[in-house]
Symmetry: C2
């Protein structure tokens, strides 16, 4: 029997307890042993929960208990989640997490500490909720050189964009709708400004390319400026608009950004709607492979956390503990926005010579070759009118 502790009994933490309970027999069959929750750390009490007797308030009880070999950190935020995770790893305990903030900010250090202490730090649930993506990149695409990643990584923004696309609603209306349905938080900044997606693309990029970019430093654009007109134009040209986290290697350097992009309808990402996520991985032998599913939600995310717990329990005490490691990207590892060339769509106000005119909107459109954003802006500026630029996937 493996005894575990859950740090944080919120949505995902209580989901993990539920998955372990509800699928107990399947898990025991797989592992040939059971997993028991010994402690749940939270500031609150949960007198009505079936797990009420497991709830404690002192982290040191967990840290000092040699019976606890796996700790599931489901607290969210950087602190004390990072500090507790670090302490557990240093104490020789395995840690699993769904915390993309901690993984993207402190993953390099925590993975190194795990390695030194012969334990594992796993984070399948930090990207794509329940969708298997971290382990497939690590275990299944091993015979491939990964060349690019494009992901719809945030369910809230994808729901908003789906509403705008399907019903022609404005961003403000769609956001309000998402909030009323519980898909967007009262303060939606981290979602709609692409902060959440930036953390996730940095994790996937680190895993694929071995160097972790700082999520705060990559080029990042949210969805707040997208208009119903932009959607109408995209549609008339055979595209839709999706918030895409993108990363690729440009001349041995890593490039990553988050931005709304025109996605052609022939691309499977164009058909990923509502709160679903999808991650398209480009690989040199495999071409493209897509992973799709629920990118958030209590039980999907908790099932990914639980898969990590099972993985650790299964391999514990054997020599086969595949370790993940990456280093922090530094100056020379990082490709600038200027070096990134892609096809772009320039939307111009009014009728413009040499551009496709969309009469009912009184706008003109130019689809460029692969060019840098600087060249694109310089091209757009020549027309002396207002313009918007979208990268094309």
């Amino acid at each position: 029997m493996k005894k575990i502790a859950i740090l944080g009994f919120g949505v995902v933490g209580s989901g993990v307890a539920e998955v372990l309970t509800q699928n107990k027999s399947i898990i025991e069959k797989k592992l040939a042993e059971s997993i028991e929750i010994k402690y749940i750390l939270d500031l609150r009490d949960f007198p009505d929960s079936p797990f009420a007797d497991k709830v404690i308030h002192d982290f040191n009880i967990i840290l000092d208990d040699p019976e606890i070999s796996i700790v599931a950190e489901m607290m969210g935020g950087s602190h004390p989640a990072y500090d507790f995770s670090k302490a557990c790893l240093l104490a020789g305990k395995n840690v699993v997490t769904s915390n993309k903030e901690v993984v993207s900010k402190f993953g390099t250090e925590l993975l190194e500490i795990a390695k030194q202490n012969n334990v594992r730090y796993l984070f399948e649930a930090s990207v794509g909720g329940g969708i298997p993506i971290i382990r497939p990149i690590n275990n299944d695409l091993t015979a491939n050189k990964i060349t690019s990643i494009d992901g719809i990584l945030n369910g809230t923004t994808n729901y908003i964009l789906t509403q705008m696309n399907e019903h022609g609603t404005s961003f403000a209306e769609a956001l309000k709708d998402a909030q009323s349905k519980g898909y967007a938080e009262a303060d939606p900044t981290a979602d709609i400004e692409g902060i959440d997606a930036a953390r996730k693309i940095c994790i996937l990029s680190a895993l694929s390319f071995g160097k972790c970019l700082c999520a705060d430093a990559i080029s990042r654009q949210g969805i707040t400026q997208i208009t119903a007109d932009d959607f109408a134009i995209a549609k008339s040209l055979g595209y839709t608009i999706k918030l895409i986290g993108h990363s690729e290697i440009i001349k041995s350097k890593i490039y990553a950004d988050v931005a709304p992009r025109f996605v052609p309808l022939s691309n499977p990402l164009a058909h990923i709607s509502d709160v679903y996520n999808g991650i398209l991985v480009g690989a040199n032998m495999l071409d493209n492979v897509l992973f799709y599913g629920k990118g958030a939600g209590k039980l999907p995310t908790a099932s990914a956390v639980t898969a990590d717990i099972i993985d650790i329990a299964e391999k514990m005490g054997t020599a086969a503990c595949p370790t993940i490691s990456w280093s922090n990207a530094e100056g020379d590892d990082i490709s600038s926005e200027e070096e990134y060339k892609t096809q772009r769509c320039i939307i111009l106000c009014g009728r413009v010579e040499g551009a496709k005119y969309i009469g009912e909107l009184n706008k003109s459109v130019i689809i460029t070759d692969k060019i840098s954003i600087k060249d694109c802006i310089s091209l757009a500026s020549e027309y002396n009118t207002e313009y918007t630029v979208y990268s094309i996937l």
Copy 2:
């Protein structure tokens, strides 16, 4: 260094040699050791190949060489592929394969022999070509109870159906086109009659539910009867038609079939076009998760084979050799077609009272509740006219 043998130097076999050569440095970095091809078994010689000096014609050289710890069976067909695989496993050699015929027919026995001999029998490439699906079901969905599988498992038929859907071509024309492009073989029976898809759904079903159905015994319908009218009707109702391998648990019994189905456009499988494959797995915590990519082709398939080789090399000699095992499904394990209830679409000739009339085709359509095929046929028969029935996904 691990030394391997490749059995069969056809498309996939030569692809494995190419992947191991071209991505040598990535693979060595992952494994901290190299993988060397020592033998290639084939009836032919390949004097112009860079691997010409590895080619041998006597299987016993491989069997008797203690240096060979991994054998990649890429021969296709049942014999001698099965016999050679069995001999290798009995001799304590690990075997990887892309051979769905052998896995679906003899997987139960070969997995048991592998277990008894403390080696592994892996077959990631047998379903979905390069798409990771076997290992994700085994390693990533472990915290879930899998409830259903729906897959577009055959690229040839998906290409034909895409042509029929997009260009209104007949089946015969689309098949001819697929043959001219090299997507369909001169004898396309195994593809168009759903035999290939049946093998693959039986493998996925065995993996998910622990019991292997006989691919020859499940209900199987090919795509040869689908008409342009059927596609027009599907489209007018918001569906497309896809050849789907389906499996689910009905009252603790396993049901599986292969048939063309009406797939609603809101289902991600509806947008999987051309030679691509997609597998939608339903799981009790995760809801639905989709794996999508190139379901065939030299390098994608070879990269999946190579991922299995790397997996074996990585864990060899450790206690962590996760074994797959299933048993053959017997009478009580198997749900009959009669017990399977699903929504169905009945297409009737002419104008029929109470049904939706599609004037330009002079046909009528009834969408049923979830009913058995027997009840559906009895319902359709009441109208005293010709009819076609499609299950709805």
